[in-house]
Amino acid sequence: MSNNEQTNSHSHFPWSHLIGFGLSIVLTLLALWVGFASDFSFRTIMIIVVILALIQAAIQLLMFMHITESDSSRIQVGTILYAVFIAVAIVAGTIWVMSFGMHNMNM
């Protein structure tokens, strides 16, 4: 594992930060447009905006947080990927399991 990125001299102009910032603004506006101005179905909208959110998260992790720098980058990336697996299991699992209430439950 080389410290490639780490050893990057930082005297350059912070392009990657600027690009990341621009992208996150664009993505946010895009999500907004999909949500309010497009005429996709509700389900499609949600799928698109969740994907947009995931892209934004990836941008933060890669461009701002430098997850791939340092000699522990594999552990860092592994941790976050596993955390994403857990997050999906918890959120999707809970919604699935707890949806039994939808058809014969009130309040």
Binding site: I90, G93, F100
Partner: protein
């Protein structure tokens, strides 16, 4: 609040406890003062950041909790022996099984294992300490204060009584208005902080603090099991943190997560609890698996069979452990698809576990098996755990679980896995690593007595419970009728419980006896063992290794010994100064503030909780401004120490 509501009153058992607690405390204070040991206690133990000492303190606390949980157990068994018994009333019984379950799992099993991990893992990987020694002390003290907070509920304010699972609405403010449930919530919350920190600490320790020559696939199996356990801890405990916090908000601040009123959803508690709860049971079994691997390999005098398969099977178990939680509430009516899915994922866990069982058997195969006490515990684990495991698979078959659920069949299952897995492992590990911790061995003859009595008692106690379950005896009932026909098996179970108690008492006596009479160790390697912790001298110096050892395989020390036999003595290198962290009083003080905050919240004394929280924050700020960099152990001191130790 009146004083007689504050102190629990009206029961001779409680007064007995009050008196014995007071006497113990007075006794301890007296002894410390008389022998002028206060300073020693503070500088050597209460402020320590040495992983070995923290480990020992974990284990002492865990043994005390085993005693408390065990007394609870025996009280329950006493009550259930004969029908229509009036030894305990319903409320009292409910409190007892609630504290029994909670204490055994959270404050006994986990700390016992974490204690052993603390003592052993850094030594096994050739490290001089953990990655964050200060945090390690914080972990211990938050665990300890959380446990104390939970335990004082017995005499102050009243114990929780809604089961260790604390299902709502029963555990909600409406149906459990007392403070008992608050103790549960805050005790677990505070201890949980410590556990999460331990998870991060040891994950980084194992990944980053190994001697450079030790590759991942050369780590001892106990280290591997700890690594995987830490991963589960890191991702499971935050879920518990949230679940507890939400119920705390419901009870103290009027939110409606789990209430019956205003749209709350009680089922959500069960869901969140088990998202944590199932991984939790693997948290307490995987380190046990790791210990058995070490001990079986050592006393069979053979390297572990199928090392890689052992590692991968644990990885698979860890992954699956987050995908099975619904098997704890198949009967909630989540529908056929949900139940089928979770049935199958649950059953799948049998495969990697089976791989491990057979690998252990084949480690023994062609070995030279020495029946030391540590080995006896490890061997007894195999058949007993298989019984617990296969009945677990029976429970996993959802359609059948509708009949087993909430019965003694389930009680039998989880005691079979928890005791023959976790508790046997704790005892085995204690016997095995005792000389590393205390520089003398536990007596083998007493050890064997205690082993046979405990194991016989265990089977006698819990095997009949499978049949009680099939005979329709539900769990958590405080008594039953003569017409139910459950008496004879219950008598057997109680008898077994008493035997277990005797076995435990012999173990405790053994600790005292060996302290007095066992010869001190003359070598660091009493068992002719295989991994690096045994390469340290006796007693282990506080810096662990004067020279960092070299690992050439997962039985690194064994290989070193083989090479030595072939005359390849390692050359003598000069010592270098060793960097060590400073002791600190901040962790214990911070945890006392946690305790204060928790206690205040239990009684809704907001001034006190705020005081406590401010204290916690203040200690954190102090820590942040503390740039203490530790100190160097000088070469002279190392030489001095190495001369005194025996190798």
């Amino acid at each position: 609040m009146k004083l007689d509501e504050f102190f629990v009153t009206g029961d001779p058992l409680i007064y007995g406890a009050d008196v014995s607690i007071a006497l113990t405390m007075i006794g301890a204070i007296f002894v410390l003062t008389y022998f002028k040991k206060w300073k020693w206690l503070w500088t050597e133990w209460l402020t320590t950041v040495d992983h070995k000492k923290l480990g020992v303190m974990y284990i002492i606390a865990a043994v005390l909790m085993l005693f408390r949980g065990g007394v609870d157990a025996l009280l329950m068994r006493a009550q259930l022996t004969v029908p229509d018994s009036s030894f305990l009333d319903a409320n009292h019984y409910n409190e007892i099984f609630t504290t029994h379950g909670t204490i055994m799992i959270i404050f006994m099993a986990m700390p016992f294992l974490i204690g052993l991990i603390n003592v052993v893992v850094p030594l096994q990987i050739g490290a001089r300490d953990v990655a964050y020694p200060f945090l390690n002390a914080v972990s211990f003290w938050t665990f300890f204060m959380g446990a104390m907070l939970f335990n004082i509920s017995f005499v102050i304010g009243g114990s929780p009584s809604a089961g260790w699972t604390s299902y709502v609405p029963l555990a909600g403010l409406e149906l459990s208005p007392g403070v008992g449930q608050n103790y549960y919530l805050l005790g677990l919350q505070i201890a949980g902080i410590g556990t999460l920190l331990t998870g991060i600490n040891f994950l980084v320790t194992i990944l980053k603090m190994r001697v450079p020559s030790m590759k991942l696939m050369q780590m001892p199996m106990f280290t591997w099991s700890s690594l995987i356990t830490m991963v589960i801890i890191i991702f499971a405990f935050p879920v518990l943190t949230v679940a507890l916090a939400l119920m705390t908000f419901d009870r103290l601040f009027g939110s409606h997560f789990f209430t019956m009123m205003d749209g709350g959803m009680p089922m959500l508690w069960a869901n969140l609890f088990w998202i944590w709860g199932h991984p939790e049971v693997y948290i307490v079994i995987l380190p046990a698996f790791g210990m058995f691997s070490e001990i079986i390999s050592t006393f069979a005098r053979k390297t572990l069979f199928g090392y890689k398969a052992m590692v991968y099977s644990m990885v698979v178990i860890a992954g699956l452990s987050f995908l099975v939680w619904v098997h704890h509430f198949f009967t909630m009516g989540a529908g056929g698809a949900v139940n089928s899915f979770f049935s199958i994922t649950t059953m799948l866990i049998a495969v990697p576990t089976g791989v491990k069982i057979f690998n252990w058997l084949f480690t023994l195969y062609k070995g030279r098996i020495r029946f030391t006490t540590a080995m006896l515990w490890s061997l007894a684990f195999i058949p007993n755990f298989v019984i617990g495991g296969v009945t677990g698979v029976m429970l996993a078959m959802a359609a059948a679980d509708y009949q087993y659920h909430n019965t003694y069949f389930l009680v039998a299952h989880f005691h079979y896995v928890l005791i023959s897995g976790t508790v046997y492992a704790c005892f085995a590990g204690l016997y095995f690593w005792y000389p590393k911790m205390f520089n003398h061995r536990l007596n083998e003859r007493l050890g064997k007595w205690s082993f046979w009595i405990f194991v016989a008692g265990f089977n006698l106690c819990f095997f009949p419970m499978y049949f009680l379950g099939l005979a329709g005896m539900p769990r958590r009932i405080y008594t039953y009728g003569i017409g139910d026909g459950w008496m004879s098996l219950n008598v057997l179970a109680t008898f077994g419980g008493v035997l277990m108690g005797i076995g435990f008492l012999i173990l405790v006596y053994n600790i005292y006896y060996s302290f007095r009479y066992s010869p001190r160790e003359t070598t660091g390697d009493p068992w002719d063992a295989r991994t690096l912790e045994w390469s340290t001298p006796a007693p282990v110096p506080h810096y662990n290794f004067a020279h960092l050892p070299e690992a050439k395989g997962h039985d690194a020390f064994w290989i070193m010994k083989e090479e030595k036999k072939q005359g390849k003595a390692p050359e003598k290198k000069p010592y270098k100064p060793i960097h060590m962290p400073s002791y600190s009083g901040v962790p214990i003080i911070m945890s006392v503030f946690f305790f204060t905050a928790g206690f205040g919240m239990v009684f809704s004394w907001h001034w006190m909780s705020i005081l406590g929280l401010v204290g916690v924050l203040a200690t954190m700020v102090i820590r942040s401004f503390d740039y203490d960099k530790g100190f160097y152990v000088s070469v002279e001191e190392i030489e001095e120490t190495e001369k005194k130790t025996t190798l």
